[in-house]
């Protein structure tokens, strides 16, 4: 891992993007997209989180070990949610939380 100094311009750009994404996520929530409202909301949140992780938390400039640890956390979280949701979703034939 390096002591890479990120240019301030990068920080400003990321910040602006995060603010714009916040505005978009709020605006979109007022539009009826049915099932896709939650997809849009989560999608934007994931994008925002990714920007924070890569640039504010310097993961983009970090060594492989850091990447592995970050990926590991997402993998474990994935198991937690996917396995549990899979349990509940398959208890009734309709594939809903019933």
């Amino acid at each position: 891992m390096s002591n890479h100094i990120v240019p301030l311009r990068t920080y400003y750009l990321v910040f602006l993007t995060l603010i714009v994404c916040t505005a978009i996520t709020v605006a979109v929530s007022f539009v009826d997209l049915g099932r896709f409202n939650v997809v849009a909301a989560l999608g934007i949140a994931i994008l925002k989180a990714t920007l924070v992780v890569l640039f504010f938390m310097h993961v983009k400039y970090s060594g492989k070990l850091t990447w592995v640890v970050v990926a590991g956390s997402l993998f474990w979280l994935g198991i937690l949610i996917v396995m549990t949701a899979g349990d509940y979703l398959t208890r009734v034939r309709t594939g809903t939380f019933g």
Binding site: Y11, L18, F56, V69, F97
Partner: protein, 230 residues
Amino acid sequence: MSPETHAVAHEPSHHHHPAALAHHFEDLGQQSEAATLGMWVFLVTEVLFFGGLFLAYTIYRGWYPDAFAVSSHELDIVLGTTNTIVLITSSLTMAMAVHSAQLGHRRKLMMFLSLTMLLGLAFLGIKGVEYYHKFVEHHIPGPTFQFEEKYVREAQIFFSLYFVMTGLHALHMIIGLGIMIWMFIWSWNGTITREYSNPIEVSGLYWHFVDIVWIFLFPLLYLVGRHLHS
């Protein structure tokens, strides 16, 4: 274990080494890498800590989508959005603090740490106002809870999740403020230098993580079914 006031950094040799360097590390660079990795491993445990609550939210929202939409509508979207912007800005000021530390700009570092703390306090203040609103509107789960008859049971589940998740988040913010006070003191008394800026970076990792948790809390708690009511 506290480093001396004037940390002098130069090539480690048999006879002297930087004050901030602990003996079991080769040099400051390796020590910094280890500290950063340590914080990341801790953040992994935090992902699972909050992850369990997000999982509970997922299941209950899947079961009671209408109750969740109606309940979510009772949260103040203006205050919630404001708090989101407050935290995102605090992440920017935190990143600027790390930047200043890396360049050895002591006064800028102290300024950005102060701004970060101020924004954190603003967040907690707004949260407090929101909690007060919930109290006044009888939306605290339990014997005082009042809601439309159709959803009275499920809405309490939503608000239970709301208070536990935002409460745990607020607790992490308070801890973060404590860490920042500590870093401010270290910045002020000269412990933090260009060579030993890693503590600011590591503290920043924690702060950004708390921001990320809110980035997910906000849409899941405040933006459910907003299109259904005007």
